[in-house]
Symmetry: C2
Subunit: 234 residues, 2 copies
Amino acid sequence: MESAIKSDKAVVLLSGGIDSATTLAFAKHAGYRLYAISFDYKQRHRVELSCARRVAAFVGVEKHLVFPIDLTAVGGSALTANIKVPKHRPESQWTTEIPITYVPARNTIFLSIALAWAETLDARMILIGANAVDYSGYPDCRPEFIVEFQRLANLATKAGIEGRPIMLQAPLIDLTKAEIIRKGVEYGLDYSLTSSCYDPAFDGRACGGCDSCLIRRKGFVEAGVADPTHYMQS
Amino acid sequence: MESAIKSDKAVVLLSGGIDSATTLAFAKHAGYRLYAISFDYKQRHRVELSCARRVAAFVGVEKHLVFPIDLTAVGGSALTANIKVPKHRPESQWTTEIPITYVPARNTIFLSIALAWAETLDARMILIGANAVDYSGYPDCRPEFIVEFQRLANLATKAGIEGRPIMLQAPLIDLTKAEIIRKGVEYGLDYSLTSSCYDPAFDGRACGGCDSCLIRRKGFVEAGVADPTHYMQS
């Protein structure tokens, strides 16, 4: 990403996990004034929201909006309905089938709300930590989805049709988890502030066996960086 | 629209105004099992939600979901922030400039949530009453927006990439308001149940002067149908 003009605002989607935290640090590094947005969607792993708050404070943002949207009214996922989170799925399945932790249209919903906020703020940039290498196979994390959302954003907004398009960037889209972690370390990010687990204990400890924990653990190993996470099972 | 197979489900966006009520009646006529969705977005004209409830009951739906999403957290519009609703704008301005009642990314947000619900319900059809003839000039009511959202939906969802695409229809997109009203009358719709006003009185009466009231009044006149609305000013 080009260095930003000093006053440029960027809206950054911040879940509290590794990817979005790294994206926030990346945007900070590029010189943007940061507007972080997190979603309290009654997710099973709402503990990630306190991580998001800590990451936002650590990196330094102009504003952190925690937007409530109850996706349990829609359901259809192990993260928003009473469905068990699968554990210890073999790595071969991670990207070949879409798991039950897929939340219907989640990134479309989140990006739409981020788009509305960007338009109101007169921000010209939205950053999302979507990644399609070490990921859970969700359709709305792939590069083609990002490209298509950009097209929609240009047509859907007053800003877009009046020649002030809001650009969507997914700077981590092609990186491995290990590369993402190394980049974050470079930016001075403290990953002990982040949380990836889909099914944490009441005290916030990571389960260690869900897809997201497995991908996280593997990432730290491959990056050669000590994993600061407390897992319940090794 | 083709006649539906008896068990086909359709999600219909229902605001409580003329267009969405007519779309609901249209989908009923086509044989769909109806799942209506309305949004309580803390709009200035929340009275439309009681209209949506009455219309849903009148037409007959399987379920009516009133989804809360506080768009005042985003603001940027006379409908969601402390900004005056313009009155008696000349007709020449209705479609040549985007008015301050534009709500940033509203239809993108609403369609995203409808998409999530459709996917969870295993519905293959979403209907929206978007109209680009007698309308307020909003970018996200135009045919090109609808086409683009369809492309996004195909890429964004598990249903889409697994070959069970969710189709988006805007059956009123090319109709005048008068044609829409005549169609609704044909379906036996009672427009006294609907509300269009952006700036109603506390008792629900329409202001008579906002763009939406002006478009509604003109529509009834041109349709040659008696307007059942109680306006505060003539």
